[in-house]
């Protein structure tokens, strides 16, 4: 994944969470919908941010299969 896509993913996820919080605070979004947004957005934010930091764009490796 390209780093700019990962950053976009993290920003969209964070933006969704913050927007849901703001809408919930003004009683536009019910609690269950706010929680639903966070359940989807939080994992995407964690992975998006991490991929932006360190993901490698090169070749994949084979896993460790024993000594």
């Amino acid at each position: 994944m390209k780093k700019q896509y990962a950053l976009a993913l993290a920003l969209v996820a964070a933006g969704s969470g913050i927007a849901a919080m703001a809408l919930n605070m003004v009683h536009t979004l019910p609690d269950w919908a706010y929680m639903g947004v966070l359940v989807i957005a939080f994992p995407l934010f964690v992975l998006g941010l991490g991929l932006y930091w360190m993901a490698r764009e090169g070749e994949a490796d084979i896993p460790f299969l024993g000594y």
Binding site: L38, V39, F42, P43, L47, G50, R56, P63, F64, G66
Partner: protein, 280 residues
């Protein structure tokens, strides 16, 4: 909600750090600092990350998202006083997640860890029995109703102590380095998470922090009742220290023995709940 979610992740990881420290001190080792698991999570976030060639890429990455997502949902179920059944459905989903972690990587160690995860589903039976015992007394499975019942009638810990013991065994089966931790035993390197390195492992650490926080919080709310948050955090640490003592002083069981012991506990619990049902 966002603040509570972040607090749960970091406090859960701190609890896992305390767990490692207590085990080390009991075994007369200095042990890592209590914030080691938080550092682990951050460290893995900065490590080089990719998907192994032999892995099923969609499952390999997707299962990390699902792992964090289901425990985020579990936290909100507990905080909103939702149903225990939803919470335990999420608990069962975690079993599938562990299986997915193991099978997605293409590594034999991961696969064995995933298979053991299915074998260790025996640990869930005491959980269902403890739910049945709670329902007999409270006539509800909503956590908010269970808290209200305990405010009037005292903690369920004293009313149905064996159900609390069954739930405690479930907590024990989810703690690292415990007698039932067969999915992560050393002969499998790191079990189902062997090939999830770098960012994927950081995601798993986030999931583990949330899981530890949610399970301990549920135990307190269901068997002790609603307490001020500062007291809940202290009780969480106290329960965790008792779990650490058990983990430090008992060897890891073989998969066969682990399932046998858990099935035996489940059998005793079924008889106990049947007795409760007849008496009530």
């Amino acid at each position: 909600m966002i603040a509570q979610l972040l607090f749960a992740v970091f406090f859960g990881l701190l609890l896992l750090g305390i767990h490692r420290k207590v085990i080390a001190r009991i075994q007369r080792r200095p042990g890592p600092p209590v914030w080691q698991e938080i550092l682990h999570m951050l460290k893995f976030s900065f490590k080089t990350t990719w998907v192994p060639k032999t892995a099923s890429a969609i499952l390999f990455v997707g299962v990390v998202l699902v792992a964090i997502g289901i425990w985020t949902a579990a936290l909100f179920v507990v905080l909103s006083g939702g149903s225990l059944l939803i919470l335990f459905a999420i608990y069962m989903l975690h079993k599938i997640v562990e299986h997915g972690f193991g099978l997605s990587s293409g590594s034999p160690y991961g696969k064995f860890g995933g298979v053991r995860s299915v074998i260790s589903a025996a640990s869930e039976i005491p959980l269902f029995v403890s739910v049945a015992a709670i329902a007999i007394f409270t006539h509800s499975l909503l956590i908010s109703d269970i808290i209200a019942y305990q405010a009037l009638n005292g903690p369920l810990l004293f009313t149905i102590p064996l159900a609390a013991v069954a739930m405690y065994v479930v907590l024990l089966s989810k703690m690292p380095f415990g007698p039932f931790s067969i999915v992560e035993s050393k002969e499998l390197v790191s079990g189902y998470k062997t090939e999830h390195f770098g960012l994927w492992r950081a995601g798993l650490e986030v999931c583990n922090g949330l899981k530890t926080y949610v399970l301990l919080l549920t135990f307190i709310l269901v068997f002790i009742g609603g307490l001020p948050i500062w007291l809940i955090l202290i009780v969480m640490v106290l329960i965790l220290v008792t779990l650490s003592f058990v983990c430090a002083l008992s060897p890891m069981l073989s998969p066969y023995d682990s399932v046998t012991v858990q099935t035996l506990i489940a059998g005793i619990m079924v008889a106990y709940v049947a007795l409760l049902g007849v008496m009530s």
